[in-house]
Amino acid sequence: MQSYLYFPGCSLRTVARDFEDSALASAHALGLELKEMQGWLCCGAVYPNVADNVMTNAGPNRILSRARGESDTLVTLCAGCHNVLKRASLQAKRNTIKQEQINEFNEERYQGGLSVLHFLEILRDRVGFGAIREAVKAPLRGLPVGAYYGCLLLRPFDEMKLDDPHRPSVLEDLLLSIGCMPVDYPSRTDCCGSFLGVGAPDAMALLSRNVVETARSHGARLLAVSCPLCKYNLEASQKQDPATSSGSQPLPVVYFTQLLGLALGVSPEDLRLSDAQLRTIRGSIKNAVESMSQP
């Protein structure tokens, strides 16, 4: 069984258990082991990405140095953690003066050599979508999913280099391989409002609601994400003001790993899919299959 060192992060151990459990279970079903790294700590959330970031990068660099002790590859799930750790690892290569300051402060030294990869990159570049297609046991035939990228997975694109920043396809390609019918909608790379949800909830709601409504008007029946914060915002904006959601049912938001797991035959309980989410998924597949079989 191929094993990768893996960094969970805080959200995945609290509000996003569904993300971690579904990812570990899907990985297992694909013959991969995500082995949790020793002694991980908070990535620092948005703070390491500010300009004056010597102090705020102490945390991420501790993570990198510990992970380097165990492996040369570190896999992440949360788009936020991924962004922080990948950029910290690139800064270590690029800005040696800053890195020396950080290393002097930390008692452990990180001197490069670790490649930080998102689980999507493992699926795309190491496993391959063709192999995933073959491993699918219960294809989610015709499920109209809106893949939502948000910001952190793709930007800044000269550093993240995960996909085309304006027209990404990695999530859609994955969804296609498990039988879904991904929906192309223009706001899939827009910002969800991020931490504005704390200080300016109205601004966040405006952005997130636009994502949800555009996806819905283009035919999506649920959204697939890779970031706990995006998921929170997309859900919260729908709860806040149901009137603007044109009176329709809320659009469920799931992690891409939950759909992957379902297609690979993992039980919905192990994927922590709620009954409501499951109902939408099964109902939409049924509708899709029926409309396909009509002449």
Binding site: F157, D164, P165, R167
Partner: protein, 652 residues
């Protein structure tokens, strides 16, 4: 013993700021054989030159060393002074204490010491310099112009009208270039082909100009005044001297491909005329899209032509190689548009109504795909709302082009104005970063577009374009009102930038000319020699050197032509005599030097079984000297003895 003079230049503070000139001069004066050592604020000035000349005469000097700037700047100046004072030109040497010393050092003490070393070395060299005379070589008084766009046509006409023969090499089936594709030109709105057409015809009729269409330069040998160029011409299946453009062959041709001239908006046959005003006025058979020539699969065109008794078509035509001898070469290779599909945020190539400025240009043209009516590519409807995005993929060093293409502000204003003329109830929007309208009548033209054309200019960038039902939704920002803007557009036009034509890098290699970081031909000096490449005899014109508009291109083309004419005006040319020399007695005839020479100046004399140097071809690079195992080869005035003397002087 030679009587030597050493002259040290301050170059204002360029040298004197870092090197103690007095100290260096005094030290030079104490070197044996140095009769005079003097300094001056500017040796290149008239009083500075007079100082040198007078010293040579009064002190009866045999040779001089001038410690100053790079020989690239003033070697010729001081050699001329030496000659004017009665010395041989090659009894003057430059000690470069500016570029190689004062400019690159900060420590005055160490820089002064280094300047002294450089002077000592130059003294040792000049002591052993021979008396030489320039080599005189004949000049082939003909020119080659590469590229048949407006730059190439203008340059060819200027040279031809001065009585010299010109070969005009064009890659495609017709001369005319990009300018032939344009509808109108800014800021006067002249019809582009109406002002270009007469020049194309003039070039075709001029007895001094030979147009080689479907041709590319394959190999360039020789040197300034004496280039030997191989031009490969693709098979010319249609004889231009017989063809009368009757179009019978086109009617029967079954193969259709996108038409490059209309930016792929229309179709053409495999046998086609590039455009109505094409010069030479003849059909072209495109072997790539033809159903088959080898073996012949169709041949309908030939049958149709033969039936009329014309027999213009020869399907068995072969490629031809023309060997040309010319004295000067003008590179006028032009530009292409940046690939808009790389700008994924705008959806070019995904949404049919997102187009490039050149595609929009074709649509505006009376001879274009819609006969000058503006229509949406998706459904043919007349668009009411058009969004123009300036700087598309430009001034973006991280992701696309770092530079500004200079012409887009102007042509976008023209496009918006012409859209208003054609669709008076329509609305044009222009997203811009700055309006760069420097040029005669340019600013006024943009103002006219804004006012008469009611064009709405929005200062900001577009973040995203996407399709919503049958409209394109353009999301951007207007930084003046600090608001985000969303426009439901029918057409989006991307003002993409200019990039060098395909193959210009390879051509530069063949010409031994250099290109800049963006792939444009590099000029010898950005301010003082903008018309020449650093390689002697190769001149530059048009957008192949840098993005530029038509007036500037034409000006540069005439400038390059006059530079070339300078060269062709005299039957002979002087070349540096500091070339390789062979001592016959030492040559073992091994032949190692022959392939080592990059200029084919060395050859074997079969009878005497030794190598020979063709002095006219030698560039004095020294590669052969280094390759010679028996020490038979040396460079005049840079012999091993001189180099060793300089090395010793540097160490003492």
């Amino acid at each position: 013993m030679k009587r030597l003079g050493v002259f040290v230049c301050h170059c204002g503070l360029n040298i004197a700021g870092t090197v103690n000139v007095k100290e260096v001069t005094d030290a030079a004066g104490k070197i044996p054989d140095v009769v005079v050592a003097a300094d001056h604020r500017y040796l290149c000035s008239e009083p500075g030159q007079a100082l040198i000349k007078d010293s040579i005469k009064q002190q009866r000097l045999d040779a001089i060393v001038v410690a100053a700037c790079s020989p690239a700047m003033h070697e010729a100046t001081f050699r001329n002074i030496a000659r004017a004072a009665g010395l041989n030109r090659y009894q003057s040497e430059i000690a470069n204490i500016r570029e190689q010393c004062s400019w690159v050092h900060e420590n005055i003490e160490k820089a002064t010491e280094k300047a002294h070393v450089i002077i000592r070395q130059s003294i040792e060299k000049v002591k052993l310099n021979e008396l030489l005379d320039p080599i005189t070589v004949p000049v082939t008084r003909k020119a080659l112009v590469i590229g048949g766009g407006i730059a190439g046509i203008r340059a060819a006409l200027d040279i031809a009208n001065s009585g010299h023969q010109v070969y005009l090499v064009e890659k495609t089936g017709s001369i005319g270039g990009r300018m032939a594709q344009l509808s109108e030109t800014f800021p006067t709105l002249d019809c582009s082909i109406c002002i270009l057409g007469p020049l194309m015809v003039e070039a075709y009729r001029n007895p001094n100009i030979k147009i080689l269409r479907l041709s590319e330069v394959e190999e360039v040998k020789g040197f300034v005044g004496n280039f030997k160029v191989k031009v490969r011409q693709a098979p010319v299946y249609v004889d231009e001297t017989k063809c009368n453009s009757c179009a019978e062959c086109v009617k029967v041709c079954p193969a259709e491909v996108p038409n490059e001239f209309d930016s792929g908006l229309t179709w053409r046959k495999a046998i086609y005329i590039p455009f109505a005003q094409a010069v030479p006025p003849a059909y072209v058979l495109d072997a790539k899209s033809c159903l088959g020539l080898l073996p012949q699969a169709c041949g309908e065109c030939k049958k149709a032509c033969d039936k009329l008794g014309m027999s213009c078509i020869n399907l068995d035509a072969h490629p031809e190689t023309h060997e040309l001898e010319v004295g000067a070469i003008i590179s006028a290779t032009g530009y292409e548009m940046y690939d808009a599909a790389r700008l994924t945020e705008y959806g070019y190539g995904i949404y049919p109504d997102v187009m490039t400025s050149l595609e929009f240009e074709r649509m505006l043209s009376a001879s274009g795909p819609t006969s000058g009516v503006i229509r949406r590519p998706s459904d043919g409807r007349i668009p009411k709302e058009v969004v123009f995005i300036q700087c598309a993929g430009q001034r973006e060093p991280e992701t696309a082009l770092a530079y500004c293409s200079k012409i887009c502000c102007m042509y976008t204003a023209r496009h918006a104005m012409l859209f208003h003329h054609k669709v008076p109830d329509g609305q044009a929007y222009v997203f811009y970063m700055d309006i760069r309208a420097g040029g005669k009548g340019y600013e006024e033209f943009v103002k006219r577009a804004q006012e008469e054309g009611r064009v709405l200019y929005l200062r900001g960038r577009v973040a995203k374009v996407h399709q919503e039902n049958d409209k394109l939704v353009v999301k951007g920002v207007d930084t003046l009102s600090e608001k985000t803007v969303q426009i439901q557009a029918d057409i989006v036009v991307l003002a993409v930038g200019m990039v060098p034509s395909q193959g210009s890098r390879e051509l530069a290699n063949r010409l031994k000319a250099s290109v800049d970081e963006n792939g444009f031909f590099a000029e010898a000096h950005p301010k003082l020699r903008p018309l020449e490449s650093a390689t002697a005899g190769i001149f530059l014109a048009g957008a192949g050197q840098a993005p530029k508009d038509i007036p500037e291109t034409v000006a540069q083309a005439s400038g390059a032509a006059s530079k070339a004419l300078n060269l062709l005006s005299s039957p002979t040319l002087e070349r540096e005599p500091t070339v390789a020399r062979i001592v016959n007695e030492f040559c073992s005839g091994c032949g190692i030097c022959v392939p080592a020479c990059p200029f084919e100046a060395l050859s074997m004399n079969r009878e005497r079984k030794i190598a020979e140097v063709a002095e006219a071809l030698c560039e004095g690079c020294g590669t052969c000297v280094a390759s010679c195992p028996s020490g038979a080869l040396s460079l005049r005035n840079l012999t091993d003895t001189q180099i060793m003397a300089m090395v010793r002087a540097g160490r003492s």
